[in-house]
Symmetry: C2
Subunit: 490 residues, 2 copies
């Protein structure tokens, strides 16, 4: 991390990386591609987890835990699945170290070689469907609605903190159903849960859509997704929900007896979001000064800094803050008084700005005399002198305002950067300016891949609320029934 502050316009990628370090969210570890999530970053992730977990339980799901290791042969049972994951997985081959004979340290004990190699899970469909096989006999055993919070490993060659790491944390839902319709409904419901979470908690507008066949999850029949636009105009896939058809049921031979006693393969879904959401959160709201966290996910919502010269002044200011502390905590608002004598107010202001604490109060002797307090909001950096009377209600409303205003700002940004084009020439120009480009596509993987090769842009999704409109593919001129969303992406 450099000392010089880099702005978003100067170098977006460096700005991001510096911010993750400066706000103390995470850092690279010495283990290739693996990050350390530091306490402040983890606290935001915990808030995300809690909100999502609540919604999963409200929609009837339970948590469970399946093994970290997947026998190599399981991964191979679903053909497209293994194709998708085999090239980037950590393989356990031995189960013991021993002292080197030359005394140089410990070495892998060749005697302790596994008969079958184990893969560190890149995702758990195979190990879970191998268990479901024993859990499902009849329609009475269905649906199974299970979620798992876990770490997974995908051996990515080019990693970026939160956005793409070899190990990451996530949740993966795995459900089993008696009918196709029910499974499709489940995949849609969970997409709605993700979209609602993204918009209401992360204050991040998303487009709900469907991936094209070539962008589908390895093993899925249909992949739904939520796509968000970052401040640099690039797209970020924030969550996916897959209808898996009967692919895994067939691979693991999982059948159930229906009400008439007829044996049928079980229908499946899986859905997940990961610590990647931390990257999305950062890139949606933060500014050149540091992190901006929406109040609903902020580990600390309000910080109070006393401005004083004498112990007496300090005591009376802190006493006032303590009164408010009781009122705010009663409203469920997290509040911290920073009365550390070793740091000057200016240092504290900068620190809480970098960390994105939504609201900062500053109170000095003159304010005390005037019965007012300075309230600074992190998002707009606006400062106001506010009457002490009803300060708790003022702050409560302000937090709501900030949450709504962050969402509206991000939505306005997306709308301003979403454009419609008719020709491929136009497209090639517009895509370089970033943003979402709505264009007609003939529905073939060939055209999709040509566009990707020539412009690095992919079809992010076919929006679920796509407007039906007769048109001609911008590349081939072949007929299209509606525009799809192209963008460069993370």
């Amino acid at each position: 991390m450099s000392q010089k502050k880099v702005t978003r316009t100067e170098d977006y990628s460096k700005w991001y990386n510096d911010l993750v370090y400066k706000a103390d969210l995470a850092e690279h570890s010495d283990v290739r591609g693996c990050m350390v999530i530091k306490p402040y970053g983890y606290a935001i992730w915990e808030n995300m987890k809690d909100a999502l977990d609540r919604r999963f339980k409200e929609t009837g799901h339970s948590n469970a835990y399946f093994p970290l290791f997947i026998p190599k042969s399981y991964l191979s049972k679903e053909a497209s699945h293994v194709d998708g994951f085999a090239k980037e997985c950590a393989v356990v081959t031995h189960y013991r170290l021993k002292n080197a004979e030359d005394g140089s340290g410990v070495v892998v004990d060749p005697e302790a070689k596994l008969e079958e190699e184990l893969i560190v899970r890149p995702t758990s469909e195979t190990i879970i469907w191998n268990s479901y096989k024993n859990w499902i006999q009849s329609y009475r055993d269905l649906p199974i609605l299970i979620n798992q919070w876990a770490n997974v490993v995908r051996w990515e060659m080019r990693t970026r903190l939160f956005l793409r790491t070899a190990e990451f944390l996530w949740q993966e839902g795995h459900t089993a159903h008696a009918s196709k319709e029910e499974a499709i409904k489940e995949a849609e419901t969970m997409l709605d849960v993700y979209a609602e979470f993204a918009e209401n908690y992360m204050a991040m507008p998303v487009i709900k859509g469907r991936k094209t066949a070539s962008e589908r999850f390895a093993g899925a029949e249909d992949t739904l997704c939520i796509e968000a636009m970052m401040q640099d105009g690039k797209a970020l896939q924030a969550g996916t929900s897959h209808f898996l058809g009967q692919n895994f049921a067939k691979a693991f031979d999982v059948k159930f007896a229906d009400k008439d006693g007829k044996l049928e393969y079980v229908w499946a879904t899986s859905w997940g979001v990961s610590t990647r959401l931390m990257g999305a959160l950062i890139m949606t709201h933060s500014d050149d000064e540091g992190l901006v966290v929406p109040p609903k996910l902020a580990p600390l919502q309000v910080v109070a800094v006393p401005i004083y010269r004498s112990d007496e002044e300090k005591a009376s200011i802190v006493a006032k803050f303590e009164e408010w502390s009781v009122l705010l905590r009663a409203k469920g608002i997290s509040f911290k008084i920073d009365d550390d004598d070793n740091r000057r107010p200016g240092w504290k202001f900068a620190e809480y700005e970098v960390k994105g604490v939504p609201v900062r109060l500053a109170l000095g002797p003159r304010d005390m005399a005037n019965n007012v307090v300075e309230v600074a909001r992190r998002d707009t950096k606006e400062k106001t002198l506010v009457s002490m009377e009803g300060i708790d209600t003022f702050i409560e409303n302000l937090l709501h305002d900030i949450q709504a205003s962050l969402f509206n700002k991000a939505l306005a940004h997306r709308e301003a950067n979403t454009r419609t084009v008719e020709t491929y020439e136009e497209f090639k120009v517009e895509i370089e300016n970033g943003g979402f480009i709505l264009a007609h596509w003939d529905g073939t993987p060939e055209t999709e891949s040509k566009v990707k090769e020539e412009t690095q842009a992919t079809i992010r999704c076919i929006a679920l609320d796509q407007v039906k409109e007769e048109g001609k593919c911008m590349v081939t001129g072949n007929p299209s029934s509606g525009r799809v969303i192209f963008a460069k992406s993370y």
Copy 2:
């Protein structure tokens, strides 16, 4: 799992295993030594996690996350640490699979061999202290009070569900301090947190003690522990808290500048509890009929079963339950009405008994007419007709009673099975009857290991509240200043 019910006295070990399956807590997976924690078992673990996590935060700790993989060379940096863990670890040697040339499936790609092998963490001291090295410069950076919830892998050869599995879930606290005293204090504080959790939530009495040198954690200078007695009289180590001295700071060269600018090595602790606590919970309270869960950890505290012949009867009974549901939820009590028409009341009673739901209500038309309800408590299997008036308060008090009574019963069991012996002859007889044996020991590892070889009993701990008492070692006759606790153990 067999169909025939096995009692604790017939075969304790089989009883345990059958119970874990019947109560739907966990099962063996196809991956050697790894278990699947099923939703009901995971829900109990989640309640444990929540209660512990709250206490960790109240005592000033934050959660963070460190990499799953540890470079082999890191593990080797602390000599006794690597000795303790090298013989049972999963080793990642490759990062890619490829299609076999003979078309037989996927194989490990020999081209994708790691330069340095990675160990799947058996515990995280080394990877964490390697990070702390960069976080700590001065006394101002201390203390660091971090906890991690994670999965770890120790390649155990003989596994038992929850008690000993190759992969398990746990929390590991890792703290860094400027002084020896502060680190010792931290290790003691966390032992107190564990003991309080064990006794107040798990209703499991524990003895706080100190491990002998030979039973210490690999790399620790002092290991504190809580030891519990299971119903078969065996001891179970339920949690440990280690004072690590400066061992890891020296291994990873972590120094801080004190107030005078002098460089000193940092002092450390680590402490952990794991899904092993699930085994402890089961073996402390459960009976031949199934699981018994203390109310504070029960995923479901009260279940209500309507007894009816007609839809009309059902409707009025369920309406009554729904009234109570509001009252109980207001008191924070979890409550479920099981009005499933496909199952008979007797089936439901048996099901909730096996799952250990603390309180069951049964209500039929005659009870309705008499304004009473049948209340059955799981722990004693006692049934009482209780007036509907103030039923919510009655249930609230009953849950408290059950919690206290489970603890008292377990404590009485431990006291009844704790005996004092003077001679080694006496010891050899008594140890076969199970329980904790208090005896004098000369403090040498030789005597300790002789006893272990000859009787399979180990010194569980030297109780922190050990009575100072002049005595003679039961084996060597050498002087001893107090009795230590011997037992066979899990």
